[in-house]
């Protein structure tokens, strides 16, 4: 079974919007891929007029990962990054003397592309417009930027919906619980970022990996 991957449209956002955006996207993906009995709750975004379907049972885990990512983004400002949500099956590998070794078979991966920009970079562009206009122009640009981001988030959500419906045959049998993994950039990453971790895992799993 091939691993289906989906590269979501890149979103340019500020650090304070990370939580809203990632919660919205991750929960939407989980909602579409959690085929066991779910009781979603409607969650309103804080900065956007978007309501998504949240899964309470995953709230804690998602928030923890988001916190880690926010911490990473603070130390790596103005960088493009990815958060990867992977779904996999675990299968027992060859039983060994020291116990069974499980093997992860990834069947789907979602790449959430983010470009976290610094607000300072944004406000500098207004400095030449005069003190009297800074406030008003800044507010205008903030609202237009946010409106554009909201529109982009809508696009991403519809992208998720379309992909989730187009690619359905590879989904394994509905389990009681599904295995997943949320990967964020590592603090030790330099040039390659988290990709090294992903590649290492894929190589260890023996699963053909396609991007």
């Amino acid at each position: 079974m091939n691993c289906e991957t989906c590269q979501l449209k890149e979103l340019e956002l500020e650090a304070r919007e990370i939580r809203d955006v990632l919660r919205c996207i991750l929960h939407t993906i989980f909602f579409h891929r959690t085929l066991s009995l779910v009781r979603p709750k409607d969650v309103d975004c804080e900065f956007f007029e978007i309501t998504y379907c949240g899964l309470p049972e995953l709230e804690k885990e998602v928030d923890e990962k988001i916190d880690q990512f926010i911490g990473w983004a603070e130390k790596h400002p103005n960088r493009r990054s990815q958060v990867c949500l992977s779904f996999f099956d675990e299968k027992n590998k060859h039983p060994g003397w020291f116990g069974n070794k499980t093997e992860r078979i990834y069947w789907e991966q979602w790449f959430i592309n983010l470009h976290v920009i610094s607000p300072k970079r944004y406000s500098k562009s207004n400095s030449s417009k005069g003190l009297t206009n800074i406030g008003g122009n800044a507010l205008e640009e903030i609202s237009s930027r946010r409106a554009a981001l909201e529109s982009s988030i809508h696009e991403v959500l519809f992208q998720i919906i379309n992909f989730a419906n187009e690619k359905r045959d590879h989904i394994p049998a509905i389990p009681d619980t599904f295995n997943h993994d949320i990967m964020i950039p590592s603090f030790s990453d330099s040039v390659f970022g988290w990709n090294t971790d992903v590649l290492r895992r894929v190589l260890n799993s023996g699963h053909p990996y396609s991007l």
Partner: protein, 521 residues
Amino acid sequence: MSGMSDSAGGRAGAELMVEQFHLKVLHAVLAVRAPRTLASAVPAASFRRRDRWFHLPLHDPPPQPGAAERLEALAPGEPLVVDVHLAPAGGGGVGGEVVERWTVACEPWPDAAGEGLAVNRSYKHCFTLLRSVYAVLRLLPAYRVFRLLCANQSYNYEMGHRVGSFAEPFSRAEESAMRSHRFVPVETQLGRLVVSVQYLPSLAAFNLEITSLSPSMIIPDYVGSPVAEPMRAFPASLTEAMGSAFRPSYQQQRPHSWAPPALWPHALLQQAKFSPPPVLYASPTPSPPNFPCGYPQSRLMRGVSAPMSIPQMGERSPVHRQNTLDPSRGFMLPPPSPRRVGETGPVGAQESPSESSWLIGRMEGLRMADPYASSSPRHKGKDSKDESGRFSALSSCDSPRQDDLDDIDYPFVVDDVDTPVSQPGSSDGKEVGDRAGSSSHKSQDAQVGSLVNLLRNARPLRDPSYSSQTSRAESSEVAPTSSVMSRRTSDALEELQSFKEIRERLLSRSSAKHQEPPEKP
């Protein structure tokens, strides 16, 4: 339902699945497109088995029977169309414009192409499709309008829906204004399950605004804030609870007992004219009284200016009712002259109980009104010395409501001092009253004494042996009782005891300051 994913199911299973899918989509659409008030929201109940179709139970109200019946009338391949429209409020849907059109259909195979399709596979695919419908319903602009209308029914538009198998085609202009989204269909044995939606990308043109305030709830027995309506009389139902002892004037600005203590210190000095400072009259019960008319207690908890809690008939001694004051007279000390008592004889003989209560209340208020009181009214008693001889905010040690007083300290509002309320003499030998003094010296102790004397000589409220009870009260400790009748008397006794103590303290203070012997009548 989970069995659908395991068994072949056959055509019957496919038909059932398609039917349930239609119903589920209809349910999902109407759940977030049929505005309802929050009050009418049905609390979430446990899911029924049939709610678990497609592993997505929906707690929201199911479609109305009429809507569901239309599903049964659908012919194979006939679409289910749900139009969501916005129409001017109050028009019954006339003049509405369709803002969304949901279409669910199972397009039959032209041939037997779907015969080999497994039902469980189709069923699983329906899971994802239904979730997508569920998510998109919340992403479209109509969802925001739905939320607004649920929160407030007073908008100039109302949202309605039409369910059927046929919908009037859009005009070219309407079609061009709308966007459409077609979900990836699910292949079943019967055909392709197709869900699509046409929607207006923006509803700003409707200019939603609230046309009127929500209908006011008329509170027939509302007792407003004395600050706002100082001259408003209390409703008759409350006055009945208080009995005829109260004069109407007292009912206008009765201080309440439940104001937060933080407001009392300055409230006493600042609010005398307009609203009664918070008053905590000595009540035997630690909790707010239960009004017979069902007057909600919460209305009393409005702060400093809320009316005093009104005791239920029979649960309060007249003394407590008498503690209601006339704050309109201001925050002043009573006059020292005891003439009134002498003039009228025993108070009870000629004055109504309400007047007695008023005077008693004034005495109580004196305890609060002392500008020389140390630090705050919270200061409890015995060590608080007043240079002027006035009352200080003495302790509540004699008040039955010890717990309340412990919390919010001293309760009483001081009223007008212009009206003479006491005179010496004609005492029955009690110390307090005898010491009220006929002195013309404008001392607070004299005033208190006169008041005490007045109390002592007051007409028995209920019990003919009231005077004897008061004598017993000198040495008796205050203790709250649950008996209605004994409570009234005990309340009076407690009050009297407290007066005595006040008197004694003031006298001692006065003597310490002025080095004058206490006056004796």
